[in-house]
């Protein structure tokens, strides 16, 4: 019996602990107290449920138990500390949470928007989101970001301090604030995804867990809030994820899009991603994530690399540039142009972009130039450009890829 209850409590912890926490932070107005109280409630559940059986609504049971435990702890603390008059106010709180689904959803949104509040540094937003919304441990976050655990722990402590001291409210943004606040949330989710997908340095090309976590977050957010750009971001992640296994060979070497084995792309993810893109585009309120997803969907749609609809891709980049005038997007457009109109046209566009210097330290700009020069058989220039890219690249598999290209150019094959 005790084992059965233990399994049930563990399952509820896995599925519901983040929702319980989100509600407790609202009720107790403090991240640390909420977390402490939640763990006490789960510990209490083991005994109480073994004795009395599983309650009808375990989540509501956990919330109210955690709440009473916290109030009780405050009361005991207050007995020793007469300087806490506000505690008495909390002893008779208005009716406990009803636990209805709308309220639970709102609490989850409050938690997400608070963790991704733009008054916190981006690093802190990411760490806090993974810790509080996804329930990862500090060690897991540290490991994924190749950062010492105490650094992550301190980042989280500081963020919680700022939330408390500067009084960052535990609220879903108003309609006016929503666009910019949502951007911050999407940025955090995409950063987590890319950390898993690209692994900015080190030997692992993909760190699958983080991408899966980001996709889970995207799905959750879309469930809670129907905004086209959330669909766009989720689609973008799914369409990348669909190609994951074909992005590197068995021995960890990088395989570019045109050489990937398309028969191994995950058609289920592609179908889901493409449908989300279509839906987001129809809303006419889409933004850069939807447009990037649309480009990924065009790639996914081509049976072979040579069947890629480059005209449509260049067109989508044109729209994207109007939304986001970033040099990196302009570079991607130039590469797509090279595919549509030939390497000479692409090279001209890239060289024009590099004139003002903003892309000088961007490895992919040099790699793209090198690739076009190689295709035009301008070997000495290609070689120099590959070396420029190599000097800027930290990731091992990318370095080996560039080295292979240099060898090819040198060997004249």
């Amino acid at each position: 019996m005790a084992d059965v209850i233990r399994d049930q409590v563990e399952a509820i912890y896995r599925n519901d602990s983040r929702r319980v926490l989100a509600t407790l932070i609202r009720l107790l107005d403090d991240f640390d107290r909420a977390e402490e109280a939640m763990h006490e409630a789960f510990a209490a559940a083991l005994g109480a449920w073994a004795r009395d059986g599983l309650p009808g609504n375990p989540r509501a049971w956990l919330v109210s138990t955690a709440r009473f435990k916290s109030i009780d702890a405050e009361r005991r603390r207050a007995r020793f500390d007469a300087a806490l008059p506000e505690v008495t106010a909390q002893l008779h709180p208005e009716s406990a949470t009803s636990g209805d689904d709308d309220e639970v959803a709102d609490d989850q949104l409050r938690l997400i928007f608070t963790c991704c509040h733009p008054a916190l540094s981006l690093d802190a937003q990411v760490a806090l989101t993974l810790r509080e919304v996804c329930g990862l441990t500090t060690e897991e976050i540290a490991h994924a970001f190749l950062t010492p655990a105490p650094t992550i722990a301190q980042r989280i402590v500081r963020a919680k301090q700022k939330i408390r001291t500067a009084r960052i409210p535990y609220q879903v943004p108003t309609r006016d604030e929503l666009p910019t606040r949502l951007d911050a949330v999407l940025q955090v989710i995409y950063l987590v995804f890319n950390e898993g997908y690209l692994a900015s340095s080190g030997s692992a090309l993909t760190r699958h867990d983080f991408s899966a976590e980001a996709i889970r977050l995207g799905r959750l957010l879309l469930e809670l809030l129907h905004e086209p750009e959330i669909e766009g971001l989720l689609a973008l992640m799914l369409l990348h994820e669909a190609r994951r296994v074909t992005r590197s060979s068995d021995d960890g070497e990088l395989i570019l899009l045109d050489m990937q084995d398309r028969s191994r792309w995950d058609q289920r993810l592609i179908a889901e991603g493409s449908e989300l893109v279509q839906h987001a585009l129809r809303s006419r309120r889409f933004g850069p994530y939807t447009l990037q997803a649309a480009i990924a969907a065009v790639h996914a749609d081509a049976q072979t690399a040579s069947e890629t609809d480059w005209t449509q891709i260049v067109g989508l980049y044109d729209v994207l540039l109007r939304v986001d005038e970033s040099p990196v997007i302009a570079l991607n457009r130039a590469v797509a142009m090279a595919m549509r109109d030939g390497p000479a046209a692409g090279l001209l566009a890239i060289d024009a972009l590099m004139l003002d210097g903003t892309l000088r330290d961007y490895q992919l700009a040099h790699a793209a130039r090198a690739d076009l020069l190689r295709r035009m058989d301008r070997r000495a220039e290609a070689r120099a450009a590959y070396h420029a890219a190599l000097a800027l690249t930290r990731q091992d598999s990318m370095r080996r890829f560039l080295q292979r290209r240099i060898d090819e150019v040198d060997g004249g094959t």
Binding site: A83, H117, A119, T165, A166, R167, I168, P169, Q171, P173, E177
Partner: protein, 116 residues
């Protein structure tokens, strides 16, 4: 909850304004201040004289030193402040975003320390 909104401007930008631009800008400040007072959220505020009139005081090893400045290694200088009463940081950010200098300089929003 009290927040201090510290206004940082580039004095060179302000000095480069034509007379009409300058008086329009000050007019915006007047309107902002009047609205803030009317909303009951203004607790105080002052405009500061230029940084060229500033003196920095420090005591090191028991010896008083006074120096001219601070000197402008930093591009933006503290030009004034508002002390406001806001429900939370989101409201303080809303108020700060309406300070005219937010468009050309920056506003640092600092919660006033609550002890105990």
């Amino acid at each position: 909850m009290k927040y201090l909104c510290l206004i940082y401007d580039q004095e060179s930008t302000l000095n480069a304004m034509s007379e009409s631009e300058g008086s329009a800008f000050m007019g915006e400040y007047d309107t902002f201040t009047q609205n803030l007072i009317a909303s009951g959220k203004m607790l105080g505020g002052q405009e500061l004289s230029p940084v060229s009139t500033a003196t920095t005081v420090r005591i090191r090893n028991g010896v008083l030193s006074t120096t001219d400045g601070p000197f402008a290694e930093t591009k933006e200088q503290l030009g004034g402040f508002y002390l406001v009463d806001a429900v939370d940081l989101n409201e303080a950010i809303q108020i700060a975003s309406r300070i005219p200098s937010a468009r050309i300089g920056s506003i640092e929003v600092r919660p006033i320390m609550v002890r105990g």
